[in-house]
């Protein structure tokens, strides 16, 4: 791996801290109400009693008047943990001619912006990685300091490592996130979903279990989205040993079809686990991209 490739191409996305704040400011941010009903102040409605419900919340007035067991529900403001899982494999360092920066740089911007929004809403944030060098996992924390630490970690990390055949490394990263994310947490995975090992869909999809909200943001370079090449091509993957000699005109439709099929497969897998897939291009407006992620998360009030 050359030294040139190791130096991340931030392009127009630097400096990350300022850009993240700008993006976060562009997104409507505020406190988000928890959909979780339980002990609280504001009445949230009634529902039928099921065994196991707390007897303190049985609506005795309704029982006396109608003879039906109902349980009173209340809404309460809760803090939610935002768990960021960043793909820092080598393929994320790619930057095409039309992109403002490398895919990792774009992912870092989106992550920092989400972090800013979450911290601003009083939520706590954790940061984990799969792949990469000089990566620092950050435990769940909140407040301004947490944002600074996340930005620092994002800036320090370098995309590296070939995960193509390293499923255990990915499973370890997923396990860390699972430990940190409790019920009601939001897990946002930022990755290009390329050159991942067999079984990565299962591992990442498992993050949507146990009351967690999972959103996978797939970040591709515009070149990867459009395949704008012409003439004879000789392509080489950044991870793995894949090399292809082809003709652009012949390969383009087949490539786009394969890319769409892959996205469809991921989407179906995530959907089955309660998660969702957001498709992003590193040439997209970061503000809109963050909104898409927030919409997918469903946390935007």
């Amino acid at each position: 791996m050359s030294a040139l490739r190791k130096a991340l191409d931030w392009g127009k996305l630097a400096p990350l801290r300022l850009r993240a704040k700008t993006v976060a400011d562009g997104v409507y941010a505020g406190s988000h109400r928890s959909r979780r009903r339980g002990a609280g102040i504001e009445f949230g409605g009634q529902r039928s009693y099921v065994p196991g419900d707390d007897l303190r919340f049985i609506d005795r007035h309704a029982l006396l008047r109608h003879g039906t067991l109902l349980v009173r529900q209340f809404e309460t403001e809760t803090d939610r943990t935002l768990c960021l899982l960043i793909d820092a494999s080598l393929s994320m360092s790619y930057r095409g001619e039309q992109a403002p920066g490398a895919k990792y740089a774009y992912a870092a911007l989106i992550a920092a912006a989400l972090c800013k929004i979450a911290v601003g809403a009083g939520d706590r944030v954790s940061l984990d990685w799969f792949g990469g060098e000089r990566t620092v996992e950050l435990a769940t924390a909140g407040g301004r300091e947490a944002f600074e630490r996340v930005v620092g970690a994002l800036e320090t990390a370098q995309p590296s490592a070939d995960l193509k055949s390293d499923l255990p490394a990915m499973e370890r990263a997923v396990a860390r996130v699972e430990r940190r994310a409790g019920r009601g947490s939001t897990v946002v995975v930022l990755s290009d979903l390329l050159d991942l090992p067999e079984g990565a869909e299962v591992a990442i999809g498992s993050l949507g279990a146990r009351g967690k909200t999972l959103t996978v943001a797939r970040i591709l370079d515009p070149t990867e989205v459009d395949f704008p090449f012409t003439g004879p091509l000789h392509l080489r993957a950044l991870e793995g040993e894949a090399r292809v000699e082809t003709d652009a005109a012949v390969a383009r439709p087949q490539y786009l079809a394969a890319l769409e099929a892959q996205a469809q497969r991921w989407s179906e897998r995530l959907l089955s686990r309660g998660g969702s897939l957001v498709l992003l291009s590193s040439a997209d407006d970061p503000v809109k991209a963050v909104r898409k992620v927030l919409d997918s998360v469903g946390g935007l009030i």
């Binding site: 050159d195 000789h234 993957a237 082809t246």
Partner: protein
């Protein structure tokens, strides 16, 4: 070459750029990173195939385009080897093309090309550079010099005239050709006149004059080594071969032999230049014998020479009384001595009596009768047929004209009795004999013992060519068939006068020999010599290259005749009134022995010629470059359309 020319031509080196680019592209596409490579299908064969086929066309077009641009850049300075006419202020030019079509032009030059073809090519190039309004004359320098095309502004006519020219074995008449060329362009109104000499310059001296001579192809005059057999005569069982060589080097180690001769006898050449004679024994049974010169030289065509079936020498029958017509000092009769002196190669056959059979006249062209004492009917018939077939018979009448035996007459010369006039005037009317030349005056004041009186005879339609001072006929001529009969009123014996001692006698004999040679047609002649035939004769000639055309022409003395001019050496078969005859045409030895001379004017003319040869090809090259540009654009469009159409198909295939 100036710096500008070098720099412009240096642009041509950029041809290497598209070639290098092509090789790089053709070899392998540049490898590039692309993370989702695993999702890209391979289509290697399609990519390679297209890159190879299409790029070759593009490569050729781009390379040509760069080369065109380089040449366009250098064109104002580059001298093209094509000949062209330089014009002063763009004015029209009148030029005479002197094309040498002699035998020596059939030789190959140092680079292997035939001189005549080089000359014709140069003439075509010059003609191609001519414009409307230019006057062109074409003169041929083969002997005799001929005007192939009088000065004309019709360029198409000039092209047609050039296309009709062909190689010949004629000798060279450069002097006449140049004179003819200068005359041909003298009358045209053009101010700029030139004479272009396309010759090996192996001929007569070139005279200075106007317009000046330009020799645009000086390499034609490069000396060559050559030997040729220019004549082969049969003398009994021997063959006499005449060989000419340009130099001792050309003759060294070479020999003459008879083709088909089983004995394999060789007659080696002496190692010297010039003319030499060689003798060989010939097998009488050999049909159509042919001599051959071994070894090789610049001109293979003249290394063989056919041998005439019979003697090539002029056959002369002489009937003279040795006792009366001989000189006091002895030896053969005066008539024989005189003929031998005039025609050394003539085959003299003294006869005592006239042949009764026409076949005995075979191989002879001239019959000289001195003081005939009458001709018998049989001999008359044979003589008549001999003359009708082209023979020439001359009767020098003497005192025996009055002693003709019974049944014998002097026909077919004259009809009726001829009287011998013992006392007669001794002058011949020189004015009547002026056609003979200055020797005619030598027949004044002759010492004669008598003369034949022809005034009372019937000349049988003959014409009187000369008279005595008293207007009596001295010389009469009668045409008979293809031949002629001459009657001279004086004998050749010195006992009867001093007529045979006068120069005019020899001049007369020479005239008779010439007539015999012309009418009979020598069995061997030089290429370019004319053969004449009577107007009424049915003549067909087959030569080395097919049928030779026979034309009708008017002679200077008024009688129309048929004529043919063999221009190629070789064996010719003639049929004259269904009688076959064989003749051999050879090359002139001077064509071999004459070396090329220096072109007139030397280096100045050469430099002027070189300057005249520049051609600006910028417009043509510009058009070519433009066409190449459009071709590339078209190819690119075609390539795009084809790719879009083929892409789905290729995808399905892969």
């Amino acid at each position: 070459m100036s710096f500008l020319v070098a720099a412009a031509l240096g642009v041509g080196l950029f041809v290497a750029i598209p070639i290098a680019a092509h090789l790089l592209r053709r070899g392998r596409a540049r490898e590039r990173d692309f993370p989702p490579t695993a999702l890209v299908p391979a289509a290697r064969s399609v990519a390679r195939e297209r890159a190879t086929l299409e790029d070759r066309w593009l490569l050729a077009i781009r390379a040509l385009l760069i080369a065109c641009l380089a040449v366009i850049g250098a064109t104002p300075f580059v001298q093209c080897s094509r000949l062209s006419l330089n014009r002063s202020a763009g004015a029209s030019v009148a030029f005479a093309l002197v094309v040498d079509d002699s035998h020596s032009m059939r030789a190959r030059a140092g680079d292997g090309s035939v001189r005549f073809e080089r000359a014709l090519g140069a003439a075509r190039e010059l003609l191609a550079s001519a414009r409307e309004g230019d006057a062109i004359a074409i003169v041929l320098a083969g002997k005799p010099a001929r005007l192939a095309l009088a000065a004309t502004t019709d360029l198409n006519a000039a092209r047609r005239a050039l296309a009709d020219l062909g190689e010949t074995d004629r000798s060279t008449d450069l002097e006449g050709a140049v004179s003819l060329a200068r005359t041909s362009v003298a009358s045209v109104p053009h101010r700029d006149k030139r004479v272009v000499l396309l010759s090996d310059l192996a001929g007569g001296a070139l005279s200075e004059g106007q317009p000046p001579l330009w020799t645009p192809v000086p390499e034609l005059a490069t000396p060559l080594e050559n030997c040729a057999i220019f004549g082969a005569e049969r003398r009994g069982r021997r063959v006499l071969a005449h060989v000419a060589c340009t130099s001792p080097a050309a003759a060294a180690g070479r020999a003459v032999s008879l083709l088909g001769d089983k004995s394999g006898t060789l007659a080696p050449l002496a190692a010297r230049g010039g003319i030499q004679e060689l003798g060989l024994d010939v097998d009488p049974k050999l049909e159509h014998p042919e001599l051959s010169l071994n070894g090789g030289d610049a001109l293979k065509g003249d290394d063989q020479c056919p041998l005439a079936a019979e003697s090539a020498a002029l056959g002369v029958l002489v009937s003279a009384d040795v006792s009366n017509a001989s000189a006091e000092t002895g030896g053969p009769p005066v008539l024989e001595q005189a003929v031998g002196a005039l025609e050394a190669s003539a085959a003299l056959h003294p006869i005592a009596i006239l042949p009764d059979d026409v076949n005995e006249y075979r191989n002879n062209a001239l019959l000289l009768l001195d003081d005939p004492g009458g001709i018998t009917p049989e001999a008359r018939s044979a003589l008549t047929r001999f003359v009708e077939r082209g023979g020439v018979a001359v009767a020098f009448l003497g005192p025996r004209v009055e002693q003709t035996p019974l049944g014998a007459t002097l026909e077919p010369f004259v009809h009726g009795a001829v009287h011998w006039e013992a006392k007669a005037t001794g002058d011949v009317n020189a004015a009547s004999l002026a056609w003979l030349g200055p020797e005619a005056s030598s027949l004044q004041d002759l010492k004669l013992r008598g003369r034949a009186g022809l005034s009372t005879t019937d000349l049988l339609g003959g014409r009187i060519l000369a008279t005595f001072g008293d207007a009596q006929p001295f010389l009469a001529k009668r045409e008979l068939g293809r031949g002629a009969l001459f009657t001279v009123a004086l004998p050749t014996s010195v006992e009867h006068g001093n007529f045979p001692l006068r120069p005019a006698f020899l001049a007369l004999l020479d005239y008779f020999l010439d007539e015999a040679r012309t009418r009979r047609g020598a069995a061997q002649s030089v290429a370019g010599s004319e053969w004449t035939f009577p107007l009424g004769a049915n003549v067909s000639i087959e030569g080395p290259r097919g049928t030779l055309a026979v034309h009708e022409r008017a002679r200077t003395l008024g009688n129309a005749q048929k004529s043919a001019t063999p221009t190629l050496a070789g064996r010719y078969t003639l049929r004259i009134d269904d009688k076959p005859e064989e003749r051999v045409v050879t090359v002139d030895p001077t064509e071999i022995t004459t070396l090329p001379q220096k072109p007139p004017g030397g280096g100045d003319v050469a430099r002027a010629s070189a300057n005249l040869g520049s051609v600006d090809a910028s417009p043509e090259l510009g058009f070519v470059a433009l066409a190449l540009l459009f071709l590339e654009l078209g190819l690119r469009v075609f390539r795009r359309v084809t790719r879009e159409r083929l892409a789905p198909r290729a995808a399905l295939r892969s």
